[in-house]
């Protein structure tokens, strides 16, 4: 484990992730890769995603029903998401103020190594209209 090797599988996962706009589940990504003809294994997808998340190249969050969702992450900066609970549309939101608030609040209470979960679930304009009829 001393050195990370460059395998085509890892690249495939990275690319597949980049090519998607919203969040994808590990299984979804795996399915997509298989459909595209790749013989990549499920376990490998999980490992690759976990690695990407560790290095900071991907963001992960838990969907309301317990799945882990991943998303290619603009390398710099940490941002949050506004997610349509109906169609899955995802909007990135910069939240500098919230960042600061979170850090501040955590240290006010003596907490260290603070990570925060800040995500907003709602109905996007389109789905709101569709639901209103």
């Amino acid at each position: 484990m001393a050195v990370k090797r460059n395998t085509w599988q890892r690249e495939a996962v990275r690319e597949a992730l980049d090519s998607r706009d919203g969040f994808v589940s590990a299984q979804g990504l795996h399915q997509g890769l298989r459909d595209a003809g790749s013989h990549i294994g499920l376990a490998t997808v999980y490992r690759a995603l976990a690695d990407l998340a560790n290095v900071g190249e991907a963001d992960s969050l838990q969907s309301p029903d317990g799945e882990s969702l991943y998303r290619a992450c603009a390398s710099t900066g940490h941002h949050h998401h506004l997610i349509c609970r109906n169609c899955g549309l995802t909007v990135e939101i910069a939240a500098t103020e919230v960042e600061q608030w979170a850090r501040q609040t955590a240290s006010d209470h003596g907490f260290t190594d603070a990570r925060h979960i800040v995500d907003i679930f709602g109905l996007c304009a389109a789905c709101t209209a569709a639901a209103a009829h």
Copy 2:
């Protein structure tokens, strides 16, 4: 299913939830009830918690490792939590500013019916000290 019946089990779950300060996992709550001498079943705890969450008497969130956590929801006001990822210590934090920010951000993007998840996970002072030696 037309009418909800009042069973002692449902009450037991509600009270057990009220008596706890932070978030509890369904299994944790079940364990606690069993320890307290109750013969309540695991499935029932899950059902009761889901019901409470539906009615709005409880809030639920997903822990980073995929468990569903529940907490009694103070009827008035909505607040967030600072949770020690090691010992589970939970501190309630008022977040008026964040509330407002979330609502604003959502509507800025045309989203409606916005709920937000805002929680901070970290290491509390005690656990930080313990981990540092």
